[in-house]
Amino acid sequence: MRGAATAREVGSRLRGAEPLNAVLHWSQELLDAEAVRVDAMPEAGPLAAMPIALKDNIVTVEQPTTCGSRILEGYVSPYNATAVQRLRAAGALVAAKANMDEFAMGSSTEHSAFGRVRHPLDPDRVPGGSSGGSAALVAAGVVPAALGSETGGSVRQPASFCGVVGVKPSYGRVSRFGLVAFGSSLDCISVFGRTVADAAQVLSAISGPDPLDATTVDRPPMQAPGPLPDLRGLRIGLPREYFPDDLHPGVAAALRRTEDAIRELGGELCEVSLPHSMFAVPTYYIVAPAEAAANLARYDGVRYGARRIGAEGDIRSLYRATRGHGFGPEVQRRILVGTYVLSAGYYDAYYSKAQQTRALIADDFRRAFASGIDLLLTPTTPTPAFRAGEKTDDPVAMYLADIFVSAISLAGLPALSIPVGRSEGLPVGAQLIAPAFEEERMLAAAGALERVIPADGEVR
């Protein structure tokens, strides 16, 4: 009766974690029902009653799926996401739906219509975002693993801020069916874990092609690798553009320590260049909003979700009132940007140019890996977790929190963040980047580093 015990423990931890505001929906009844289901399984499955939190943009039949938005308040999906089905089939318990930036747009989880999520180590700081609820739940020890989603770093960045492992798979590795779309060419269901092994187990359970998602790649599911005993024979590239002079000193120190650990494990470090990565954030902020503007058009008050009848009583007025009230300011901003960059007369200047830049960014990575580099190492974020409210009035400053993660999303590559120390008590993450569909190599190397780098140790 492993599930039943887990359900009680997780329930009590969820109650204890309430001040974080990391959860949007959970109930002991649903947890208990999950336990009954899991305990009745003929075999425990690879995830053997592991409780897992889901970002609230992954649809489930039992709980509402709001995407942290008023416009979907109370919305319950009639179907489960493929990833949820696979998790449950692997023996996992769906524990809770986690708070998030509205429609996954943000880097601090301050843009949730249901209140901001607190950093587990410092309630005045942000956990990162947009998957901040999932990250905080793992960091606070409520669940050993959680699903988040990435469009441009929304798992790696909060993993770095919260001091947990965050793994973004290759685009096409995990089905997006049932992940509420933000930027479809970028969106990846991604995984948080307390350890590399937990994250790898969960990722392998949800990976693999899905006939319901035409963008999944026809490759067998990923296998969760064990940690490498050492890094001998691995060439790890340090892209110089990711180590700017003004990098936060604590982050720089944590990365130096990571480099030392790699050398000590027998790995070879070499400098490489990814010259077009400097265009990643502006490119991302054209591509993602363009896709988002179309993806969010369906929230029009006609079929589901919140509806407001406008003053004029006609359909245009219903659209304006529903969307004007239902979407928060950051979502509205991105819809407007996305609509603008696709407009006649601007398409070539923005969207086409961004697609060209995206190809150049991806090419840099391909060239680096083709030159004999096995993995790349960078900081995950330019700073540790910032204070709540610090960047909410300056969207561009907020966007730059993703400066080291967005290029990888544009290139569709797998990457992860592992905690590599603390600066003034706040976690710092290091990012490993692998060639497409080489998750196993990346996870095995991360496992080796995890064993030798004290994640909680202060760095200078």
Binding site: V59, S77, P78, Y79, G178, T215, A293, A294, A297
Partner: protein, 473 residues
């Protein structure tokens, strides 16, 4: 001033698939509202489209039937606009990289003889749902059964020069698509829809005038009427010195008039971009050439073959090949031994009448051939055979000869019986007998008719005249 009319048509046809373009919902017409729906075609959060391979296959066959080049790579694109019948707020279509380009449709124009109308492109896309205005008083309802139905959009070049040509083009296009088996092409059921663009220019001018778009036609005849009305409207405007503005007009079948819509959204910016949910559609060369192999003999080739191989007149061949089913039936009748022109007459007569009424062929071809054999052998008259056909149509298992006998329609050529009917007729018409004998020999036809009537069609007309001549002589 002599004005030249320039017309280009955009035709949407529903591809004949069992399921929708991007999900597994059925495409059945006329089911209760919102029953053939799922998360994908409802545009629910998190749902994703997966292309229907059969729709792509039918789209490619349609394109090849129209002489288009099917491209090895085409791209699905999102066409963005808000409307309550459009669940996702965008339609998945194709834009700058369509499935196929560059075909043509050839037909006889009443004014210009044989003409070739260019096909700019053919692309596949999903249909929107339907707004229902008459179900709840004062409210509009949305039925999404149709949402996601696969369509091929066929964009024609502005090569048509009259409303009559537009109609002939549509007739030919439909024939080809129905032959190819890609669509039912029924305007009543909405599986074929036409948007027409029309402009006028002074004869001899090469630049195009400002075009308008005419919508809401529910038959090919109404397409012609609508375009005639629009041509008249534009001509009147221009001749009174006013400009033609680029508007969309709706045709009113009751009044025969076209009226500009009051829509404020004239300059829609659809903000097309490649749909990131769908990888480019890749079709390899072998697959495309296999689709060419899927094509049946198309109407024009069949018409030529029937004319040349069977020697039937052009007109007959055109009528018979108008529908593949009719031509198939015709060929079966000929195959059963009936002389081609005789078969053509039957098919264009009674057979087509019953086919148009019922959509079927109530008398199997072999049985019709047997009936025609009875006429050839003088067993029944042509008139009697038509009655037998009517009877066979009601009881398809009947044997033509047995039916003719049961109805008493087998011709009588026995001299005694014929003589009896002749005697009765001559006795009944003494005045005409006197006039005939006085030299009015053209009355012979009258006597023959009277004998046929008295015999109730059973008398063999070839045998009647000698008997009459003898008795009158």
């Amino acid at each position: 001033m002599v004005w030249e009319t320039v017309i280009g048509l955009e035709v949407h046809v529903q591809l004949r698939t069992r399921t929708k373009m991007f999900c597994a919902c059925r495409t059945t017409f006329g089911d209760p509202p919102n029953t053939n729906v799922c998360p994908v075609c409802l545009g629910l959060p998190g749902a994703l489209p997966v292309p229907n391979a059969e729709a792509v296959r039918l789209g490619a066959i349609a394109a090849l039937a129209l002489g288009c080049t099917v491209h090895p790579t085409s791209v699905f694109a999102r066409k963005n606009y808000f409307y309550p019948d459009l669940p996702k707020g965008y339609q998945i279509s194709q834009f700058d990289r369509p499935l196929a380009t560059g075909g043509h449709v050839a037909f006889e124009s009443a004014e210009r003889g044989r003409i070739d109308i260019g096909i700019t492109r053919l692309h596949v896309e999903e249909d929107a749902g339907k707004l229902v205005h008459d179900r709840f008083p004062g409210k509009t309802a949305v039925d999404l059964n149709r949402a996601g139905t696969p369509l091929a959009e066929i964009v024609g070049e502005p090569d048509l020069r009259s409303p009559a040509e537009a109609r002939a083009y549509l007739t030919t296009l439909r024939q080809i698509l129905v032959y190819a088996g890609v669509s039912e092409c029924s305007m009543e059921q909405g599986s074929l829809r036409v948007d027409a663009n029309l402009s006028i220019r002074p004869a001899g001018e090469t630049r195009l005038g400002t075009k308008t778009e005419v919508k809401n036609m529910n038959s090919f005849a109404n397409v012609e009427r609508a375009l005639e009305a629009e041509r008249a409207r534009q001509t009147a405007l221009v001749e009174s010195g006013q400009p033609v503005r680029q508007v969309t007009l709706l045709f009113n079948a009751a009044t025969g008039q076209v009226k500009p819509t009051r829509s404020k959204e004239e300059s829609h910016d659809y903000r097309y971009f490649p749909d990131p949910d769908l990888p480019p559609l890749e079709l390899n060369a072998e697959w495309i050439s296999a689709r060419r192999g899927d094509l049946p003999e198309l109407p024009e080739a069949r018409r030529t073959r029937l004319e040349q191989a069977l020697g039937i007149p052009t007109y007959d061949a055109r009528v018979i090949t108008g529908e593949a089913g009719l031509a198939d039936y015709f060929e079966r009748v000929v195959g059963a031994g009936v002389e081609a022109k005789t078969a053509a007459n039957w098919v264009m007569g009674d057979v087509m009448t019953s086919y148009n009424e019922t959509g079927a062929f109530p008398v199997p071809a072999e049985r019709l051939a047997a009936l025609v054999g009875l006429v050839r052998d003088g067993v029944v008259s042509h008139q009697a055979a038509k009655r037998v056909y009517g009877e066979l149509a009601r009881s398809p298992n009947g044997d033509p000869k047995a039916v003719a006998e049961r109805l008493g329609l087998v011709q009588v050529s026995d001299q005694g019986a014929l003589g009896g009917w002749v005697d009765e007729v001559l006795a009944a018409h003494p005045a005409e007998v006197a006039r005939y004998r006085g030299g009015e020999t053209k009355l012979m036809a009258f006597f023959v008719g009277q004998v046929m009537k008295r015999s109730r069609g059973k008398a063999d007309p070839k045998g009647v005249q000698p008997v009459l001549q003898e008795k009158l002589g």
